[in-house]
Symmetry: C2
Amino acid sequence: MSLPTKITDLIVKDIRFPTSLEKDGSDAMHTAPDYSCAYVILKTDSKLQGNGNTFLNGRGTQIVCCAIEAFRKLVVGQKLADIFGNFGKYWQSLCSEDQIRWLGPEKGVTHLATAAIINALWDLWAKMEEKPLWKLLVDMEPEELVSVIDFRYMDDALTEAEAIELLKSRQTGKADRDDKIRKLAGEAISKGMERFKMKVGADVEDDIRRAKIFRETIGYDRLWMVDANQKWEVQESIDWMKKLAPYKPLWIEEPTNPDDIMGHAAIAEGLKSVGIAVATGEHCHNRVMFKQFLKANAMQYCQIDACRLGGVNECLAVILMAAKFNIPVCPHAGGVGLCELVQHLSIFDFISAGCSLENRMIEFADHLHEHMEAPVKIKNGNYVVPTVPGYLVGIKEGTIKQFEYPCGSEWQRMFADGTFEPDV
Amino acid sequence: MSLPTKITDLIVKDIRFPTSLEKDGSDAMHTAPDYSCAYVILKTDSKLQGNGNTFLNGRGTQIVCCAIEAFRKLVVGQKLADIFGNFGKYWQSLCSEDQIRWLGPEKGVTHLATAAIINALWDLWAKMEEKPLWKLLVDMEPEELVSVIDFRYMDDALTEAEAIELLKSRQTGKADRDDKIRKLAGEAISKGMERFKMKVGADVEDDIRRAKIFRETIGYDRLWMVDANQKWEVQESIDWMKKLAPYKPLWIEEPTNPDDIMGHAAIAEGLKSVGIAVATGEHCHNRVMFKQFLKANAMQYCQIDACRLGGVNECLAVILMAAKFNIPVCPHAGGVGLCELVQHLSIFDFISAGCSLENRMIEFADHLHEHMEAPVKIKNGNYVVPTVPGYLVGIKEGTIKQFEYPCGSEWQRMFADGTFEPDV
């Protein structure tokens, strides 16, 4: 097959699944999400195409699709050699688009749109190299890998030279880890223990009651985490969690507002004596925020989101910073396509950056994978190393016909039978 | 005239002015902006309507318009008594919309959209009370004023009770200040000295050369500020500004990335010995970020943006926090409609919260005001106290016909003669 040389078209699809009917994925702040994605198809002058997505919660997906369209001129017509030859600069050209930048910068809808496009470009690149994304990444020389990162606003945490040095220093044992992963292709990465997470924050007495049941059921040898989904004030987080401390949660996830670096630092400090760590990051919107969380000891577990950060390029920046600060990266997953994406980032982290599986985990939710062309595989409670070339790889054509919003056949059926009213 | 009781329609207009032709408002990060706004018209069951806007830079305005449309169901059909009777809760219902919240939360496009709607509601309320917005605000009892604020995630900086206490404690002299302002209606607020701002960050030698010329021209008795528009890394900001220190700038504005609280704190600390303060805030997206900037001594001048924060409700939260931390509020202005908006916030701050004019100033740019139904008036280099009921008041019908994008007559003319290509 001839390799593509340029992007010839950009197609955006608003794909929504009616998960609110079953309350899948609901939490304190998102009581009835319809798991969705803005799905990007990049057509090229060959048969290969790049597919990317950003995970969303239903209403509002059309806004991200509108933002993706706004970047069309920076994508369609571009030569792939120009993009991949200086991917760091290309990434910056999206994030710093002269007029659109005002709408962020590098946060919210415009950054989610950037992620979908950037993810599709990496998918295309990996397919061109006939490698799963993680393999494309780990095979890059440190200098080449680092060239995809925009280091602006990072030099008080990690410079380009330090990043290269860090990657080089971790090359010891890299061949072994790479070998291990390749041998495990088709097998689970490790036979880890089972891990459990409980939602908290509605009622402290009820949380204590359920914590007790949890520990009676799973014992104290398995890891158990709690998640407050941004419910609390700062002091309230400390007070509440101290009451749950006897049940030994490994971490409290998202105790308060995701922008509150100093608040998370105060919570981490306040809970140090009872051995509870702070995990956050799924709503953390760019490398500048992660830089501060890491510098301020405000996160002990770094939960990057592959679609909220500006795609692979920025995820790599954060993974390298976390490696320097010795903080385990445990990506946020679930949703639509997130599991498919983040497994690549975690394998890269294991082989090239963090170089450890200790305290590393990836979230998993067992639904909607049937819509993926290359769904994640799970074995013994662990992700199986992916071997299909690409990153997201793709969403099935039949799924798009059914669940594109609002024109898909399933949505039309549900509007007709009154299950849903059309949005707007 | 009968008073409105509910919102009957929401109309959104994408208004753009071709300012890139003249390079008006360009800076290091925004080299050729077309000053624009997403303009909201709230129709009611009376003749009164609320008009609000959010300032934008051209391309991407359609994304914010799309986001405003996404909130339609939360706006149209609402009773005004329900909104204004518990405005804090209503504000929260927009910011925390179950599915749309994922796209922020409270930042970027969705928060800019919130601001436009919220600003239009305040405009309507002020018109119903037949008062300019500042007068509506200063006439509220402390408890009533505070009830419009969403205090979530603020209680480690300012609680509701503290806010009421602060407002009550500042009531001494309030009548005098209110009286002073009312007597000045139609006159300039104060005959302040002239103030000057210079863009820096491209070339340090050239900055020194221009600083020298500035000071030779204006002397050392007038205030002189410099603005780097987010150009630098943290240490670079300190090193660069130390070279400009002999020319005694009052502040360095936006030295680095606007999300970098700890970076700004380090810069402020590094420049303390040479007497240069840090000013920032025009890209600071919500009260949680401002809370941290204030607590970390990372801003000595608080430059709120009336449309980037979620409208008046959140501006009040930040103004009250700044008053507690004794930091002067100097709103960001210029753009489209910003000057018209922020004058009300500054007068409220003077009468009820900060209660001082010392070191307070509002930016001003003398263009595009001719498109406003109630343009700001400037006298002796100062804003004249506004007396027209409302907040933004409105944009002229003729302006909309000419500059709505892309259908307005001026845009159609400029597409036809090749001055501009249509966006997308």
